[in-house]
Symmetry: none
Subunit: 194 residues, 4 copies
DNA sequence: TATGAATGAGAATTCATTCAT
DNA sequence: TATGAATGAATTCTCATTCAT
């Protein structure tokens, strides 16, 4: 009798472990042997669930892109002001900074793998991005371009503090940005979506 | 007397060639053999000029940070307003967007290399970052934190458009940011350095 | 189930093959590629069984020290006189002279490898040496210092004839030494262990 | 005008430096670049004085083999007893133990190089050995075989303490050996040369 | 004489992947 | 399903030697 294992569930389990373990080291810099060892399976088993290393990376990216926006949206109270809405996103990222650093690194790895593999299609990757931008805009009740603007600044901050730790203060920078962002947008009547 | 070659000058020449050739592919993904071949030298020669691959990366990064800032600062006219000053930096990055995407990738590679090598000191890399931040602040005639803020947004934008090409318009985003940034800072009398 | 191979047994098999093949040439002068080729495996396989070249040397040395002493001790008859006991060790080395020349070369290689690697600890190598000294003393039923004395002379002889072949006669030298050694020790009542 | 340099004298100077610097590391394990650097010359210059690396080693061995025996012989007083004569050699080696360890290592390297190079002639190497043996016998006023015996034991002791530091006491071992050696030989009337 | 840039084969080691069991 | 032994090309880096100057 074979072990009773739900194939997809186990795949998911492996992916989550992989994500936590290897972001900083670089997904591409970790050998399949190491991945397998850390996950408590053998290389053979790993290949049973993922046809090759690139596929593992792709799946990982896909998984990560599905998470988190809904979590942030849920934190926005009813009838919140723009300042309050902005604050929710900023604090969400601040609290999960390390996680978002991992996302940045994963995204770069994924980009590289795609780029290396002869400019393969970026459908998945762009879809994931749109997802983020749209959801933030939706949360802010603003036009998409302002959703992206906030996303860009937060990404920039996460990236910056990843590669240059301690060069800037997270809270100082987001406080400044929030002030600037909300002041600016409140004065522009036309920017609000109907 | 040996063959007439200026050691430092040739190093520089190699660095520049290398930078042009390989940024997109990922510095870590290109083997020293390939690098040498593309540069028209042998591996032995390459190692004559750079003790190891890590050093090649570091030197490249350091070189870039010095060049960029002095080039950008030179573009600021005398008696320029804050809006004009900000514009110089934004346009500088816009014009050289592909170049700065390479810098982002190089920075990540450099980070990973250091991180892998047992959390080595990031002195050089942080120094380069501070240099960017300080020089931008100097160009803006503002406090350092605003220099970093602009740097963070521009980095975020470059990163974003690198991994999610065409998701946002560079010019739209910088236009919005410039407005927001200058409007906000002009109203705050206290932020201006004496 | 994997391919049926007893990991430890195959390691041992490889060690023995290696020992026979390469002692004279110098363990360090043979590349891992050559070793693998001569053993009929690939480099990958070799590294599957030994983490690095250094470890291969160490294991080899350790293996040798255990085998030799137990083999020699087994040859000592019950109720043997000191002269007979001494003779067993001398003849053991004489019979396996070429083998012990290999051990000398291996020992030097091992020493150098350790010395080069930043004066690493010589624990294993010293343990092996103590083992030799103690076991010889045990076989002679004498104090350790006399065990080492015999070991030193035999080592000296092996070394001498290795680098200066035919300069002295093995049998002549050990005959002289045995006479001298046993005559001397029989007159010293106090040296015998109770 | 060329620099006034006595070719042979400079060769000699280089050899002596080389001997001191690289014994422990292994003459063959040091690159020509390192040798040159440590000697304060360039590789080009080094090759001006020695046609290749093997020749450097050979010359080094030749140089070493010419030294020292005369120095030891000079220390023997007139009308010295056998015990006194033996003592001179033992103490000579004890005082210069590190130097003799280097000689052992050099001899092994030389042997290996000869052996590797298709069993080249060992003339030089054997000549050097005979030189040692004969001179010791001459100093002891005994038959050559006893000269070699002492040489073998001293070599054995030096070798042993090189690779197994602190395993035995130099002075204890030579004291024991001297007693044994002289007691034995004084009782054997026939061994004395006429 | 002396320099040191250049060479390129070869070193140890790693690694994604396959496949017999 | 699961194992882990086996593969062999690729990686970073070293080094004795040559040679234009």
């Amino acid at each position: 009798m074979p072990k009773i294992v739900d194939h997809d569930e186990f795949r998911q389990e492996l992916l989550e472990k992989y994500f936590d373990l290897f972001a900083k080291t670089g997904y591409l810099n970790v050998s399949m042997r190491e991945i397998a060892a850390q996950m408590g399976v053998t290389t053979g088993t790993l290949y049973h669930y993922f046809p090759n290393k690139n596929n593992l990376l792709e799946e990982l990216f896909y998984m990560a892109s599905r998470q988190d926006t809904s979590e942030a949206l849920a934190k926005i109270p009813n009838n919140a002001t723009l300042a309050e809405r902005t604050k929710v996103f900023c604090e969400f990222v601040e609290e999960k900074e390390v996680y978002f650093q991992d996302i940045v690194l994963l995204t770069i790895d994924n980009f590289r793998y795609k780029y290396l593999a002869d400019h393969q299609d970026f459908t998945l990757i762009n879809e994931a991005d749109n997802h983020y931008g749209n959801k933030i805009a939706e949360g802010l009740e603003l036009d998409d371009k302002y959703g992206f603007m906030l996303a860009i600044f937060l990404n920039g901050l996460v990236y910056h503090r990843l590669v240059f730790p301690d060069s800037v203060s997270f809270s100082e920078q987001i406080q400044l940005f929030q002030e600037m962002f909300t002041t600016f947008l409140q004065n522009e009547n036309n920017i609000r979506k109907e």
